[in-house]
Amino acid sequence: MQNLIVFLWRHNFLFIFLLLEALSLLLVVNNNYYQRRVMINTTNDITGTILSSVDEITAYIALKNANQILSEENARLSNRLPSAFMRTDTAQFFVGDSLFRQQYQYVSATVISNSVNRRNNYMKINKGRRHGLRPDMAVLAPNGVAGQIIEVSQNFSSVMSMLNSNTRINAKLKNSNQTGSLSWPGHNYRLGKLVDIPSHVSIHLGDTVVTSGYSHIFPEGQMLGTVQEFSPAPGDNFWEVKIRFSVDYNSLQYVYVVKNLMRDELLQLEKKQVTQ
């Protein structure tokens, strides 16, 4: 026993190294939903406060550009308003029922930290649980999809960016309605990869790719990008399509969080389907 302690003490540099390295790697490996819930909820409010005060300065510098984006966004949104509503087509009407019921609700937020140069990029936004945000809500940029919320604290939220190896978005080609899965291969923050489009479908350069709405997270028809290049996947009956993102993720400043007011109902229905 004494020999062991002497041995450990003599090589304490090596053992402390192994201990700390193991601890770090453990953090990395467990850095999934559980670990994030434990750690980031406590740190979000501290780091969030510092980051948001820095963001105020950069926001002021970018004000002119932001105004332009916002006015474009306003024009676009007023054209699209009906898409936020779902027609209730039931034959029975009771008092108080309305023709349209709102399915998606938009909350505006400011990005207070963001990155594009990692393999797994995250953002923080300045709205949190207090503003009704929950994990799994969609985050939209003025001209496309930004990501989805993974964690919320009282006043801030962590958003898994489109530029993340874990992001998979159910997408479709706007003109043929063929669905596939959009992800980010990691080389270039302007380019994404769309797979699972069968090779009998004809694709053209510049075709628009939008969200399919199947996931209950993103509303249908949100702009994702345009086709830049496509080739048959080797040994497979599917296309491999390179998509140019419509959003420049390096200059994100204002985003919208989308609440799907009928998500719980849809999920419950699916659960019943599985149990049967």
């Binding site: 304490n12 540099f13 402390i16 190294f17 700390l20 390295e21 601890l23 770090s24 790697l25 453990l26 953090l27 990395v28 490996v29 850095n31 670990q35 994030r36 750690m39 980031i40 740190t43 501290i46 780091t47 980051l51 820095v54 930290s113 990155s115 594009v116 140069n117 990692r118 393999r119 797994n120 995250y122 923080k124 962590s158 990691g186 080389h187 270039n188 923050y189 390096n250």
Partner: protein, 168 residues
């Protein structure tokens, strides 16, 4: 000495998370400048303290960038390699107490080699842990080399700036 290093810790951490983490040169370069803190720790720093301060620095950067453990793992590894790097690099002057690892005391050539070795080790560990795979190693290698070069440049500029100040 202790106060200087604590002050340096805070300044370098803020520089990293507020400036360098946001520098997006050509999209794939991520200068992990905070390794400069590990480079500048005094020679007489005890082994355990070296490792723990590197761990603290890496973990603090991680908190700001939602990358729990990645920077900590790389920083601890760099701190582990540091004594060996110092032993390999003989210098004209002995590493006597009071001497700090920098251009001022040990000359440009010594610091350049010292910084190149440790910065490259650090970025290699960092990007490999981040990618967590050897797939597409060429892309990872490109990121390592480009980011190391930028960090080395910034570290040398920082050194030269402070030498000038001392002479005045």
């Amino acid at each position: 000495m202790l106060l200087t290093n604590i002050f340096r810790f805070v300044v370098i951490l803020l520089l990293q998370v507020l400036v360098f983490s946001n520098v997006g040169i050509s999209g794939s370069i991520y200068p992990a400048f905070y390794v400069y803190f590990i480079l500048l720790l005094p020679f007489e720093t005890a082994g355990w303290l070296l490792l723990f301060s590197a761990f603290a620095m890496g973990l603090s950067v991680d908190m700001f960038t939602n990358s729990l453990g990645i920077n900590a793992a790389a920083a601890v590894f760099t701190a582990f390699v540091r004594p060996a790097a110092i032993r390999i690099l003989r210098s004209a002057r002995e590493y006597e107490p009071g001497i700090t690892p920098g251009i001022k005391d040990l000359g440009f050539r010594w610091f350049f080699l010292y910084a190149t070795i440790l910065i490259t080790v650090h970025h290699t560990a960092l990007f490999l842990v981040e990618a967590f795979t050897f797939d597409d190693f060429l892309q990872t290698l490109r990121r390592i080399l480009a980011s190391s070069a930028v960090t080395l440049g910034v570290a040398l500029i920082a050194q030269l700036l402070f030498i000038k100040q001392d002479k005045k």
